[in-house]
């Protein structure tokens, strides 16, 4: 997020796109509800009539995968009606002409034929967004989990830059991070292209810095991202895998291919708190401590580095991941320093990156969470990024063009499936499926669909149905819901006995490799036997 979560309460307009905030980020949604109560405008762009759309001033119920067309048309309106911030564009950006060119033909009427959103609504959204001073964009995986995810993000960034909604209180470009420490994991260099603090592995100067600190020579080429790693596994080029705290089988798209790859691996080590689906392929399993049993930091969506503290003992012989990692490094002959606590590990990382060099456990303990960049011990942290224009040089506009998703519905697979998370469960479900409240609200997998799509297939609420794509098939319970567009269905990913990612498409975005979880084609067939009424989700 360029801005901070508490700023949301001061905003005058929220453009929420590809984020079912009340379910995936309930506490940020509370800030949004507070802003709406105060009188802020809310524009929601989502294929489903999600909870937020009920309190929105405008709901753009676009077809899944057509975000680029919508965003181009909004740019078109803002440029055509001269609602751009010329001063900001002149001072802080480059290549505005490229976007003018790219959106020249993207009229709202054209976008209406692609997105299904009325041209007038697109115009209204564009005008409101461009003419409101404190206007923030909030998005999450509905934007990124597409083969054109990077283009979606560029499209949003173009809107932000052309209207100057950057470096301003309660505005900005705000991706809401899906997991407790996605931000922190990236910050710490768990990336094939970056060392800690976003220093490129291909930059000789950065490499020299880390070679010097770690006392070894380091590989100069970029590594493989997770999506490619999974595919290279199936092709036999990745032969050994060390997996910490992720259920690859349940979390990665096209699970059949992931399983095939894991089967071909010569050696797999898994380090986790529970046995998960991936454990079937592991040669060695190391029991880890959970968040309540160890010390360290998590970094949240608004770049806030906060403490995690040990409250209880790990069960049995389970140990904190950092202790296991140090011992394993020593077992393979690398002299990992004898850290007394995670505070010392953090200090080593902070010393190697300007962004965090002012942050330490001692400071967080004394002052509470600190938002990076925080270069010195007396720096207060940075709630709002780009306070004096873009952080490094100028913001570069990116020309984008609409192209359809990788796999669209056809005669054989006539329904468009999107996937996501619900309020009550979390990812692979290892934690929430062991919690009584979430389980009494949602017991099993379901498929949310429009009543007419159900009716023409002879399906009723609570029926059991087989869902098939080109990659696999699973069973789920039908939930007829007024939130759906006709022709579109939606499923959560939380249920190991009915793994939705058997269906999803592993075609990845060209730059990030992120799989297209939000669009694939499926077909339904009825299943004999009783539908479980108890498994139908409560209306939410």
């Amino acid at each position: 997020m360029t801005n901070s979560i508490p700023e949301i309460r001061d905003t005058d307009l929220m453009f929420v796109i590809g984020s079912n905030t009340t379910e995936a980020h309930p506490i940020i949604a509370m800030e949004m509800k507070r802003a709406v109560r105060r009188g802020a405008r809310l524009i929601v762009a989502d294929p489903r009539a999600i909870w937020l759309s009920e309190i929105a001033d405008l709901h753009l119920q676009l077809k899944p995968g057509t975000d680029v067309a919508l965003l181009l048309a909004m740019s078109h309106v803002i440029i055509a009606e001269d609602l751009v911030d010329h001063a900001f564009i002149d001072t802080h950006t480059e290549d505005f002409g490229a976007v003018v060119e790219a959106s020249r033909d993207a009229t709202p009427q054209w976008a209406e034929t692609i997105t299904g959103v009325a041209a007038d609504d697109i115009r209204t959204a564009a005008r409101w967004y461009a003419t409101t001073e404190r206007a923030g964009i909030y998005y999450t995986l509905g934007i990124t989990e597409h083969t054109h995810g990077t283009d979606n993000v560029y499209g949003l960034a173009n809107l932000v830059l052309m209207t100057g909604h950057l470096g301003r209180h309660a505005a900005g470009m705000n991706p809401l991070r899906g997991q407790n420490n996605v931000q922190g994991a990236n910050d710490a260099g768990a990336s094939p292209v970056f060392y800690p603090g976003y220093q490129r592995v291909t930059d000789p100067e950065a490499r020299a810095r880390f070679e010097d600190a770690w006392g070894v020579s380091l590989p100069p080429e970029e590594g493989l991202n997770l999506n490619v790693m999974m595919k290279e596994m199936a092709r036999g080029r990745i032969k050994g895998l060390y997996v910490v705290g992720e259920d690859l089988v349940l979390s990665e798209p096209n699970a059949t291919e992931v399983e095939r790859g894991l089967n071909q691996c010569e050696f797999v080590v898994l380090q986790d708190i529970f046995l998960n689906e991936t454990a079937r392929f592991a040669d060695v399993i190391l029991p880890a401590a959970c968040f309540a049993e160890k010390d360290g930091v998590f970094t949240n969506s608004d770049r806030r580095v906060q403490r995690v503290r040990r409250a209880v003992s790990p069960p049995g012989e389970a140990r904190a991941d950092w202790e296991i990692l140090c011992d394993l490094a020593r077992a393979v002959g690398y002299p990992m320093p004898d850290y007394a606590s995670p505070a010392e590990i953090y200090a080593e990382m902070a010393a190697l990156s300007d962004k965090f060099s002012g942050i330490s456990h001692a400071r967080i303990d004394a002052e509470g969470g600190l938002q990076w960049p925080c270069p010195t011990p007396d720096h207060p942290g940075t709630p709002t990024l780009h306070g004096d224009g873009p952080i490094r040089g100028k913001g570069v506009f990116q020309a984008i063009a609409y192209r359809p998703s990788d796999e669209l519905p056809d005669e054989d697979y006539p329904l468009l499936l999107s996937t996501g998370r619900t309020l009550y469960h979390y990812n692979a479900g290892t934690q929430t499926r062991r919690a009584s409240g979430p389980m009494s609200k949602q017991r099993g997998n379901f498929i949310e669909m429009h009543r007419r799509d159900a009716k023409i297939r002879g399906l009723s609420d609570g029926d059991r149905v087989r869902v098939s794509s080109r990659r696999g098939e699973i069973e789920a319970i039908v939930w007829i819901s007024p939130r759906m567009r006709r022709g579109c269905v939606w499923m959560p990913l939380h249920f190991p006995e009915s793994p939705t990612n058997l269906l999803t498409n592993d075609a990845g975005d060209k730059i990030t490799g992120t799989g297209e979880y939000k669009v694939c084609a499926v077909t339904l067939s009825p299943v004999e036997g009783p539908g479980l009424e108890a498994e139908a989700p409560a209306a939410c």
Partner: protein
């Protein structure tokens, strides 16, 4: 533009923003006024009458939580009249409340502010107990327990549910002394729009709303440890309440201090059962020649992991290894995974689910 308002509270002159309440002015002056139904995140209601103060020029005592401060106003929060009012009010609350053997309001959950007020301000005449039927429905939800005998009808839970969580699952029901907190048709919370966020528990001043899993526990024995939630990316701060090396309750730090402003969701507040679950991995496991996993010691398991990974590196090169780190783990641990991949094994094949 806006001029600040000067007001005198118990002889202390303070300046507050226009529109600020008398209670805010008193707090600014460093004077504590007892409250029950007041909560910064919801609109004032002035229903509990606990915060009544004397304002010069006003015939009656006024609720300081709802009364706007105005220029030149003179307020007394501890006059004889105010003290007399508090004692009579607390007597009335006692007559309608379940008491313990000491004649004080019973304690539930994480304390009872009514009890504190009685101890601090005393009571007036003993009034005959009010016996009204407020029998609560049986509710099979696993998290939120409501005891009508401890409820003072301040309506804070209902207002939080309406204004902050905005799901409006609960409401005031019935009339007169039968009034209580209920759901539509007395349904279980599981069959309403309730999202089990537990905000009703967090705002309840008397413990009438409590965490069902923590019923009967002595909150004085709980140690609180501040940490960060392990679910989504909001970074809510949590206080883990620990007794006998187990998490027994989770609460939020007080509003206004952290990014979550006193709020939590169903997962953050309640979904900690996994921590102490029997399914947790408690010992290293190695897959034997028969394909079965068997328990192993740490030295055995670490040696097996090291040998297996080094074997792949020797046979196929370092880039035949992949390291999948975890955005669920700490920053320090992610730092160590990439250091392990790069420095110990010599590959940049290190990533985590941030790609998805």
């Amino acid at each position: 533009m806006s001029q600040s308002v000067r007001i005198t509270v118990d002889g202390v002159e303070v300046q507050v923003e226009p529109g600020a309440t008398v209670l805010t002015a008193a707090t600014t002056a460093g004077i504590a006024v007892p409250t029950l139904c007041h909560e910064a995140r919801v609109d004032p209601m002035g229903s509990c009458r606990m915060c009544l103060v004397e304002i010069e020029g006003q015939r009656r005592l006024q609720p300081s939580c709802a009364f706007p401060a105005s220029d030149g106003m003179v307020v007394h929060t501890d006059s004889g009249r105010v003290r007399r009012h508090r004692r009579v009010l607390l007597s009335m609350y006692l007559a309608d409340h379940e008491l313990d053997e000491d004649g004080l309001p019973k304690e539930r959950g994480t304390g009872n502010r009514l009890r504190q007020h009685v101890l601090e301000h005393g009571t007036g005449p003993t009034l005959p107990p009010i016996a009204a039927d407020r029998s609560y429905r049986e509710d099979d939800n696993p998290y939120v327990h409501f005891d009508p005998e401890a409820c003072i009808l301040c309506n804070l839970c209902v207002r939080y549910c309406d204004e902050v969580e905005a799901v409006s699952a609960i409401t005031l029901a019935n009339r007169g002394s039968h009034t209580t907190i209920a759901t539509a048709d007395q349904r279980s919370l599981l069959d309403t729009s309730c999202e089990l966020c537990g905000g009703c528990i967090a705002v309840c001043p008397t413990g009438a709303m409590t965490e069902r899993p923590a019923l009967g526990l002595d909150w004085r024995r709980e140690e609180k440890i501040r940490t960060t939630c392990n679910f989504c990316g909001v970074g809510c701060q949590l206080d883990l309440h620990v007794a006998d090396d187990r998490i027994v309750r989770i609460t939020s730090p007080e509003p206004g201090r952290t990014v979550n402003d006193g709020n939590l969701c169903v997962k953050g507040r309640f979904a900690y059962e996994f921590v102490h679950h029997d399914d947790r991995l408690t010992t290293p496991l190695i897959r034997g020649g028969d394909g079965e996993l068997r328990p192993a010691s740490w030295p055995e398991a670490l040696a097996a992991a090291a040998a297996g990974l080094l074997g792949v590196k020797e046979r196929h090169g370092a880039d035949a290894l992949g390291f999948v780190s975890s955005s669920r783990c700490t920053g320090e641990e992610n730092y160590l995974v990439q250091k392990l991949a790069r420095a110990a094994f010599g590959t940049n094949n290190c990533h985590q689910c941030a790609a998805t």
